[in-house]
Amino acid sequence: MDAGAQRDQTLHALIMMSVITNSYSNVASSFFSNKFQRSIEEMMVSPMPNWVILSGFIFGGMARGLGVGLIVTIVSLFFTRLTVEHPLLTVLVVVLTSALFSIGGFINALLANKFDDISIVPTFILTPLTYLGGVFYSISMLPDFWQGVSMLNPILYMVNVFRYGFLGVSDIPVGWALAAVLGFIVVLFTIALRMLERGKGIRS
């Protein structure tokens, strides 16, 4: 891999990482803060449907994640020239990624009992998954066994579609990867909504 390709790969990784961590942390910390201050009760006693409450937090996380991702992209333009093969696909995958990790942050905050609980997941699960999801390298460089293990990592799919948007190349079929991301979003959204309806972590 030449220096330019390496730089591009690192840049894609940095944009994706900033979107993932900011989307996740924004929802996790803001929802947990509402739980901690009990101001979540304002929403619980109101007639607002649970899906609206959940969507509100998700959109908040997405706004933060996409905003930070945009800033990282703009700053990077001072140092490199970005080429985007499929702009719409690139935007779509970033939006879906921020949605997915916002939902993840919401579930984390629902289950959290103390502030430590909302930092454990990003530190010990999210960051390793991000690094091992082919963010800084192509999984084709790994032995077969580790390629198989990497396929279990949801972040791999997002990174690949994202990279495909920029470079037009991917380790896995793009359609399959997009379907996987959408599938994760539907499943996690359903889980988060069910937990909210049952009052998990917020109702006695």
Partner: protein, 324 residues
Amino acid sequence: MAEPALSIRGLTKEYGNGFQALKGIDLDVQQGDFFALLGPNGAGKSTTLGVVCSLVQKTQGKVSVFGIDIDKDFSKAKYQIGVVPQEFNFNQFEKVLDIVLAQAGYYGMTRREALPRAEQLLTDLGLWDKRNGSARMLSGGMKRRLMIARALMHRPRLLILDEPTAGVDIELRRSMWEYMRRINRDEGTTIILTTHYLEEAESLCRNIAIINHGEIVRNTSVRELLSELSRETFLLDLAAPVSDTPVVEGFDIQRVEASQLSLVIHRGQRLNDVFSALTEQGLQVVSMRNRANRLEEMFVSMVESSQTAIDQRAEQPQAQEARV
């Protein structure tokens, strides 16, 4: 007859650890009432109100708000309810005005509709000049008033006040009472109040329920409850100290301090008789007051008798086991 503002039937709440906080409560609060739900700490007051406003999940039972079953249409029922919880539950870092406007938004009010309402409520409750300040900078009393303003934003027909004046100074408490009386009288808002200040319940409420150990011990009007008061205790301040407790036949008199006596008057006894007897003994009473609030005496005796009944129920199986 109009639907009750709140109707509860067979309400139970059992926590995961097996603790039964509510043991089949039945309760009706009529529209327009000012109703007190009293009980010692941990009796089940907040749990009951928590179920009504969806902060606590019930185990069994039916709850209806103005005839709307919360199991069938909780959203519709929630439009009717305003809640002032026991503990501060707003974002302390938000501005006062933003807190009440956000709450209005949760109930579907536009900002245009909500602004005049917010101005009116914050002005009425003495918070309008604090509207742009952070909520955490408010004093304890102001925070309580903020929660009342927030709860009234969407014009609820049923207002639940869970110890709204806890930790509030006397002057402010009385101004809050006046405000609550006004919204009950002028706007017809049904109010359910829990409080530990029994003077507050006696002064404000028309009807009352006493709850202990998750059971309703008594549900009646304040007037009827007070009429059943079989005894009252007074403190008498004497003009000069006495060394011995004076004895007046038929009356229970105790010496509290050198120049203060306590006197228990049972129903049918007359204060005049005591004063005459004390005057004959050369004692002069310069002032007199109730030792406790009248409702407080009633409340304590009811809670004590309910505790005795529970203790007896607990002892019965043990006695049967011992006989076996």
